[in-house]
Amino acid sequence: MPDVDTGHRITGTVNGAAYDEVVDDRMTLADFLREKLRLTGTHLGCEHGVCGACTVIVDGAASRSCLMLAVQADGTEIETVEVLAEDGELNRLQAAFKKNHALQCGFCTSGFLMSVTAAMREGAIRDEGHAREVLSGNICRCTGYTGLVKAVLEAGE
């Protein structure tokens, strides 16, 4: 629904698909993804950059979509959790999450997947300490992280 402002036209890609939308000055990237593009896999848990539930990948870098404005995404390539599955099958990381019970309520899961995806592209996850460091920018209240650590070690080697 429109804000009272006239807005900015922005274009770019999300998960490889081009979009061309008009957004209000103050709309956050997270709200843009969720409300305009209806990509509701990205969740809002704290809206101040700590919990990490809204993490998406912007031009290759894991970023908090609650701390970016939609208009700042103009011209960028964004990846969200919806891009991860390959031909309808869970990808290696997703499958490792499932196998190791790395999720319960699932609300934080998308953010974890995107943070770990970005980290894995930077290089292999070497050991448990490294895995915990990679995971430490996201909060999960359900699992106690045991399954997450296992999943990351399994998928990230």
């Binding site: 402002d5 700590v50 993490t55 908090r64 970016m68």
Partner: protein, 293 residues
């Protein structure tokens, strides 16, 4: 937690940005990485009428420069970019060390060095580090350019000498001589949290191992990064390790006057400052010994 209304500007040229800031003055705020400003806007603690996003100024402002005598970090260099730069790790290891302790990678991916300095949170890592590096801050506005020493840049919580129409264009430090060793230590309750206290320390050591120059700054214990002059005085002129740890700790504790809050008492923070100063100096000594081994 949605930000209040503002008008967003995305100038493509520096001049355009400066004109906007001049036009809107106090009603405008510069948006760089946004990792401190955006939460405040979402909380509606911060209010702006005009948000001047400098991210599209791009190019030159996004690349650190490693010149013969000086290392310059322009406004749009991201924290993560510098953290992962091998050149930085080689010439300014203390910066790399400190950057690794700033929040989390997802924040550092967007957060800029200059943005953190301009935001001037006294518990943040970078202001104290740039203080001991004796950095020079270059401030630019439509009125012209000026440089400010680190010691003069920070005024209070979230407050610097930056006028409303100014941008922190870049921060530069002299290329450290080979006999300079530095360290950053902080202690936070939880990884990524604001430190209960932090210490950046730097020593220059002569051929006999005597400290000829020492700069130490504490974070999180005052409204600005606080240089610990008395401790510096104690360390300078002697070999590292010669002055007793308790003497140094006492001096550090005496020099700071933190505020108590829900996370820790002032007494604890003072004590912690002393502990961290000593640990940073031990790190420095270890590095010095490694260099001479």
């Amino acid at each position: 937690m949605k930000p209040g209304q503002f008008t967003y500007h995305a100038p493509r040229e520096l001049g355009e940005a400066l004109e906007l800031l001049q036009e809107f003055g106090d009603e405008a705020k510069v948006l760089a990485g946004g990792q401190s400003l955006m939460p405040m806007l979402n909380f509606r603690l911060a209010r702006v009428d005009h948000l001047v996003d400098i991210n599209r100024l791009g190019g030159r402002l996004g690349e650190p420069r490693f010149d013969a005598g000086t290392i310059t970090i322009p406004a749009l260099v991201r924290q993560r970019q510098l953290e992962r730069s091998e050149e930085t790790a080689r010439v300014l290891p203390v910066l790399t060390e400190a950057l690794r302790q700033v929040a989390h990678p997802q924040i550092r991916n967007r957060g800029t060095i200059c943005g953190s300095l301009a935001h001037a949170d006294p518990a943040a890592e970078l202001p104290s580090v740039l203080s001991v590096l004796d950095a020079t801050f270059t401030l630019v506005s439509a009125r012209g350019t000026r440089t400010v020493a680190a010691a003069d840049f920070f005024l209070f919580h979230l407050t610097t000498v930056l006028e409303p129409d100014e941008i922190l264009l870049e921060v530069s430090v002299r290329r450290p001589p080979p006999n300079q060793f530095s360290a950053f230590r902080e202690f936070a309750t939880r990884r990524g949290d604001f430190a209960l206290a932090g210490v950046a320390a730097l020593c220059e050591v002569d051929g006999d191992g005597v400290v000829t120059e020492c700069r130490i700054a504490a974070a999180g214990v005052a409204p600005v990064p606080q240089r610990l002059r008395a401790v510096e005085g104690l360390v300078t002129g002697s070999r590292l390790g010669e002055t007793s740890a308790s003497e140094i700790a006492d001096a550090a504790r005496a020099e700071v006057e933190p505020t108590s809050d829900i996370h820790a008492s002032a007494t604890y923070r003072s004590r912690l400052t002393g502990v961290l100063v000593n640990r940073a100096l031990v790190d420095i000594r270890t590095k010095q010994e490694a260099a001479h081994a």
